[in-house]
């Protein structure tokens, strides 16, 4: 016979514990050695009502609203039930009473005591007592004859006695038990039981058997036994129908016999094998409650005492998810209906098996009829379908009476079998940050502002409001006379709401503590039939979603502002600033999934709907457990699988917002049953504030839970590797600093330092990833990374690449850098508008839409130019510093005379634009040309100025990034400036007056220069120029080389004739000296002469070098600085 043993639960402290049902079967009542009587609404009732009756309660009996207990102060007391008010003392003994029991009409109470006496007392008049004396040891148990004539008692003296109550005499006495001296030493409690109704049998547990004695003749008519029973039976109890007898043994075995057939129909073992010390049948006969000596309470459910009807009380195993939900969404009527619906669908599977069972125990028809009646009384256990089934089978049995095999019940025509996916019970509306409403002490709200707790027990029904920051407001204590179940708290107000009752409408109460007037509170009634389901507070407004699929918006002062219809039953609301987030049921989910939709509304200046009813992604078979905004205003939610998801807003016009998982709180849990209860999310610093709950989903209010902080972690692949880690960090950073762009776009002030910091952090990460990819020789990946970088960082990357001798990479990068530079110019204004273009670069989106607001750009062109210039300035500084850092590379890489020519804008131009000279610059073709482009143009123009643009030898030199094997550490950037400079040099050399000496600080080419120099005699002007060049340059720093020479010419002419003569003579003197030497040394030999001459020329050169050296260096320095 199928029956479900519910798990044991703690009932009382260790010791003898008794249990009984009340008359309706609604309550289970227990008493225990802690002296309390507890009234449970069911086995799952976590919060039973209790009545303290004494220091210890030994026994209880309950009938007709009277609760009789035997307590340790030797009295038998009456309390009213279910109120628990004391109703006087029924009787007293000289020792403690051991067992009390009612008669069937509940007019009398019998009590056995340790002082060997049994008393029978009229409940209405406790003075009418009958004392039954005769036992010679403490009385173990007493039981009334249902017809009220007799009373049976068992005692430690080993006897079981039947008394005639009226005559107060022993009718018969059987020496059945072992003798002991005290109840505590007795092997068995020997709880007797008289068959109800017919009162035909008295059941006496004797060791491992139960003897049945017939009333009247007092003969032992039969013995019930079971092979599995090896330990003494402690207690027996008749089923209300009188057909079954249940027994509980010392070893924890629960056995049930059918008295007529004397067959054992049910065996259950106590889950821990503790001694069962009390048994009680549910009035319907479908359940047995039992208690053990450890104070635990258990229940056997689904006993079918009729056995003809398959038990329907039993929960269907296939509805596991539904059951889970029951536990979570406190089981109310709706859920139960759903449950029953579900279990019905399963019942066809079970029914045949049940039918087989039936056939095994041949039941007399009469018993069944009676039992069916009993079952009909049980409102929980039956629906009409199964009742019909019962009747049908009934018929079957009649027809095939005696036949062993009955064909399984045919498929039932009245209930189609559905085997598809089962609908999920929709998740109930809840307040994010609250614990379930059925708890006595609960959090109504815990958010970043404060905590609202509610206490709802006998003494107190109150709400405590506490602010994290006492500067906001002091703590408040309110009496909860309206029975508020929902709350929200913000910096401005506390909002409370209660569901409607029969008399009262659902109410909304707002404690507007930040109001500057004297009325700090307002209240509003919702229309009849409309219940508040969820509510939230924003800045200056509040929203309530109701059971009629309505969203009502109020101002914080109580003004009704708007009323919106919701597309589905609300699940929860969240507000922040001007944003309202609504989650509702979009449709019915199947197979444990919820089907939720989300809307995000924005009020205030720019009223708009940001998310319009998109599905809310949840983990598989999970439900929403928290919804809210981060402190920075990004929507965020948590599902029951602990996955935290955050909205990634995209800035483009028509691009969707995406939910990104940012953390899984379950990963950090130590055990499976541990959870984190989220109370807040912060983006900067990145904190997930939550409360660790050991073995539960919700924290208790006491002891006060402490907030823990969890880090975020995007669930990227391979986060154990360095690459994965950096990728995770990068994308997390991108995601978590996304709010800056949102805030700035919605007109909030933003922390620019923080923004810059974050950008820097991201770029650093990119650079690290770049370096890593370089190390791993993943050049393609490097380029991909470079695309995410800002231009400045790309230059660094180029440097890195060229240093690690990846020239192909460096070349590609420089192309990217160029592109970026172009983009930067085009985007200048836009860039400023939403700084976070990097996100968009990375997503490769919005590139097409770049030019949409060209007009705006033109308006802001001025600004953009400035920006561009600034950028370039930065660039220059950077290259400068690099030059300083790398003097050797420079010396080797740029054999350039430090041209004193004021380069002006040419020098400030972006070095990356130079390589683009070969191709037609994309931007130059456009009518809109920024200053930087002008710079580029001028740099281009400077070359034709020299007239050497067409020279064929120049173009190869200008090629960007020509590989230079000699210089090991040079950077391409420098190379480029170098080549540029070289081009200038060549152009200089084409000047008519360019025969002049090359700067002497460059050694290797100097020798060749000297050679050419030697061949040509110097003019006086040249000598003069050498000496005075500096001063000219100093006077006119902005002159070109050719201009310098012109200027020099002019100056030379202004000199007096004598001075000019001396210069020409000096020039001649050079040659003259040489000639003289020749003459002088002709004697010594012509060969030597030549050598000498050269040597002398070298000497002269050296002298000149000395004189020039420092100045040229300085000028070089000056050049770098310009």
């Amino acid at each position: 016979m199928p029956c479900e043993r519910k798990p044991m639960r703690y009932g009382h402290s260790e010791g003898h514990t008794e249990v009984c049902f009340d008359d309706t079967g609604e309550f289970i009542v227990t008493c225990g050695s802690d002296g309390d009587v507890r009234i449970w609404k069911g086995l799952d009732d976590d919060d039973p009502k209790f009545i303290t009756v004494g220091e210890k309660a030994y026994s209880l009996a309950l009938k007709n609203g009277k609760l009789v207990t035997a307590s340790s102060n030797n009295t038998v007391q009456i309390h009213t039930f279910p109120d628990g008010d004391p109703d006087g003392i029924l009787t007293r003994f000289t020792a403690s009473a051991t067992h009390v029991t009612f008669n069937s009409s509940s007019s009398r109470v019998a009590a056995g005591s340790s002082d060997f006496m049994v008393k029978v007392v009229e409940v209405s008049d406790s003075s009418q007592q009958k004392t039954l004396r005769g036992h010679e040891a403490p009385v173990l148990s007493v039981t009334f004859d249902p017809k009220d004539d007799f009373l049976a008692s068992a005692s430690c003296d080993g006897s079981v006695v039947v008394w005639n109550i009226e005559e107060q005499t022993q009718v018969i006495s059987w020496p059945l038990l072992q003798k002991t001296n005290d109840v505590s030493n007795a092997k068995s409690l020997c709880r007797l039981s008289w068959q109800p109704g017919l009162a035909k049998y008295l059941a006496v547990p004797v060791d491992t058997k139960v003897h049945l004695y017939k009333r009247g003749s007092w003969e032992q008519v039969s013995t019930l036994s079971d092979d599995l029973l090896t330990q003494p039976i402690n207690v027996v109890a008749w089923s209300p129908c009188g057909q079954f007898l249940a027994a509980g043994s010392v070893g924890g075995l629960l056995t049930m016999w059918d008295v007529n057939s004397k067959l054992c129909v049910e065996r259950q073992k106590h889950e821990k094998g503790f001694t069962v010390c009390c048994l009680a049948w549910h009035p319907s006969g479908s359940q047995i409650a039992y208690t053990d000596t450890e104070g635990c309470l258990g229940l056997l459910d689904g006993l079918s005492t009729s056995t003809s009807v398959p038990n329907t009380v039993k929960q269907a195993p296939a509805t596991k998810p539904a059951k889970d939900y029951d536990d979570l969404f406190d089981n109310d009527d709706d859920d139960r209906l759903m449950d029953e619906g579900l279990s019905d669908t399963n019942s066809p599977v079970k029914k045949p098996a049940a039918g087989d069972d039936d056939d095994d125990d041949f039941m007399p028809v009469t018993g069944r009829v009676r039992n069916r009646g009993a079952i009909l009384d049980d409102e929980n256990s039956l629906d009409t379908g199964s009742l019909k089934l019962g009747q049908e089978k009934f018929g079957d049995d009649d027809d095939d009476a005696g036949s062993a095999v009955v064909p399984a019940a045919a498929p039932l025509p009245f209930r189609p079998i559905y085997e598809g996916p089962l609908p999920t019970p929709p998740q109930k509306a809840f307040q994010p940050g609250s614990t379930p409403a059925h708890l006595m002490h609960r959090f109504m709200m815990w958010n970043s502002v404060g905590i609202v707790r509610s206490y709802n027990d006998e003494q107190d029904n109150a709400i405590d409001v506490e602010f994290h920051d006492t500067a906001v407001h002091h703590a408040m204590h309110l009496t909860n006379s309206l029975g508020h179940t929902m709350a929200d708290i913000s910096q401005e107000a506390v909002l409370l709401a209660c569901p409607s009752t029969d008399e009262l409408a659902s109410k909304l109460q707002c404690l507007h503590f930040s109001s500057w007037d004297t009325n700090k509170e307002w209240m509003v009634d919702l229309p009849r039939g409309e219940d508040a389901k969820a509510l939230c507070l924003g800045q200056g407004w509040m929203a309530v979603a109701t059971s009629t699929l309505m969203l009502r918006l109020f101002s914080i002062g109580g003004l009704q502002r708007e009323i919106v219809s919701l597309p589905g039953p609300v699940v929860c609301l969240a507000g922040h600033g001007q944003q309202l987030l609504i989650v509702y049921h979009r449709a019915t989910g199947f197979d444990g999934e919820q089907s939720l939709g989300v809307q995000l509304l924005q009020f205030g200046r720019r009223k708009k709907q940001i998310i319009n009813g998109e599905p809310l992604p949840l983990s598989q078979k999970s439900y929403l457990s928290w919804l809210g905004f981060t402190a920075e205003g990004t929507p965020c939610y948590v599902d029951s699988d602990g996955v935290v998801r955050m909205l990634k807003r995209s800035l483009g016009k028509n691009l969707g917002n995406r939910w990104t998982p940012v953390c899984n709180t379950r990963e950090t849990c130590k055990s499976k049953s541990d959870h984190y209860w989220v109370v807040g999310v912060h983006e900067n610093p990145q904190q997930l504030r939550c409360i660790p709950c050991k073995g539960s989903r919700y924290p208790p209010t006491l002891p006060r839970p402490a907030v823990a902080i969890l880090p975020f972690k995007l669930p990227l692949c391979q986060t154990a590797t360095e690459k994965g880690q950096m990728e995770e960090q990068f994308w997390r950073s991108v995601l978590f600093y996304n709010h800056y762009s949102f805030l700035s776009s919605s007109g909030y002030e933003i922390d620019e330092d923080g923004q810059r910091q974050s950008q820097k952090e991201q770029q650093e990460l990119l650079m690290k990833m770049f370096a890593l990819s370089c190390k791993l020789e993943r050049e393609f990946r490097c380029v991909e990374l470079a695309e995410l970088m800002t231009q400045n960082v790309v230059t660094l990357a180029i440097r890195y690449a060229s240093r690690s001798r990846r020239l192909a990479l460096a070349q590609r990068l420089s192309e990217i850098a160029l592109e970026k530079a172009n983009e930067l110019q085009e985007e200048g204004p836009e860039e400023q508008e939403d700084e976070y273009s990097i996100v968009r670069y990375s997503q490769g989106e919005a590139t097409g839409g770049r030019f949409i607001n060209r007009q705006d750009q033109e308006e802001e062109e001025e600004q953009g130019q400035e920006l561009g210039e600034e950028e370039d300035g930065d660039e220059m500084e950077e290259t400068d510093t690099r030059k300083c850092m790398n003097p050797f590379a420079k010396a080797a890489g740029s054999p350039v005379k430090p041209s004193p020519t004021p380069i002006g804008k040419v020098g400030r131009a972006n070095p990356f634009k130079v390589p683009d000279l070969g191709k037609p610059p994309a931007s130059s073709g456009q009518p809109r040309v920024t200053n930087i482009l002008d710079n580029m143009m001028s740099s281009r123009k400077s070359t034709p100025l020299g007239g050497s643009a067409g020279r064929p030898n120049k173009s190869p030199v200008l090629k960007p990034l020509a590989p230079r094997p000699k210089s090991k550490t040079q950077s391409t950037l420098l190379q480029m400036t170098g080549t540029k400079a070289v081009s200038k040099k060549t152009q200089e050399s084409t000047e008519p007056a360019a025969e002049q000496q090359k700067p002497p600080d460059i050694r290797p080419p100097a020798s060749t220069a000297d050679n050419t120099e030697n061949k040509r005699p110097k003019t006086g002007f040249q000598l003069w120029l050498e000496e005075n060049r500096k001063s000219i340059v100093a006077d006119h720093p902005d002159l070109e080389e050719t201009d310098i020479i012109k200027e020099a010419m002019g100056r030379f002419r202004t000199l007096s004739a004598e001075e000019r003569l001396t210069w020409t003579e000096r020039a001649k003197g050079h040659t003259g000296d040489a000639a003289e030497l020749k003459k002088r040394k002709r004697v010594e030999g012509g060969d030597v002469e030549n050598e000498n001459g050269q040597a002398e020329a070298d000497e002269n050169n050296a002298k000149k070098k000395k004189s020039l050296d420092p100045s040229s260096k300085l000028s070089a320095f000056a050049f770098n600085r310009t």
Partner: protein, 186 residues
């Protein structure tokens, strides 16, 4: 060393508090503290925690070991072992005293904790006395005692040093001829 000095040292220990005010990082010689966010646990030294607590600016989160079950375990272990067991904090006694005296409302089962810590303390002091006794009676020159806390050392230091000095004096005044056995009786 004064017990109050040991207590002073113990006040440098860090303890978690939940402030109910908002304050940026504060920069002290001993290190930076904060930032203080209302409702968010933050580590501060005990002296600051007590100060804030007295001004009702925070709630103190008891240290992890200040828990009845854990302390019971430690007590059992301490009773079972002959040697000193490792204590949860080098300042367990001082911290218990300070926190329970000033913030008992923030510590669940404060009385039980007080009793348990006192039990542990008594057990350890008893052990210390025993070991000092055997140290002297066996005339050892040195002994190694692990896991002693500063407060415990401090309680026995003056007495042990004085008595050892005293014995040394007595011993050095002995006649050279006599053997050691006599002096164990002192």
């Amino acid at each position: 060393m004064d017990p109050s000095e040991v207590e002073f040292l113990a006040e440098k220990e860090m303890v978690k508090i939940i402030p109910n005010f908002s304050l940026d990082k504060i920069y002290l010689i001993g290190g930076d503290l904060g930032p203080f966010n209302p409702g968010l646990p933050v580590d501060v030294p005990v002296w600051l925690a007590l100060n804030l607590k007295q001004r009702q600016k925070c709630r103190i989160v008891p240290p992890e070991w200040m828990d009845v079950e854990k302390l019971e375990e430690i007590r059992e272990l301490e009773r079972k072992e002959d040697a000193f067991t490792a204590v949860p904090s080098p300042y367990y006694m001082e911290l218990t005293k300070l926190l329970l005296n000033h913030a008992s409302d923030n510590i669940p089962k404060a009385d039980e904790i007080r009793t348990l810590v006192k039990d542990i303390w008594d057990t350890r002091i008893a052990k210390l006395r025993c070991s000092a006794d055997s140290f002297i009676s066996q005339q050892e020159a040195h002994a190694q005692l692990d896991n002693l806390t500063l407060m415990e050392i401090n309680t026995i230091r003056s007495f042990l040093l004085d008595s050892l000095n005293c014995m040394y004096k007595l011993r050095s005044n002995l006649l050279p001829g006599s053997n050691k056995g006599q002096f164990t009786d002192y």
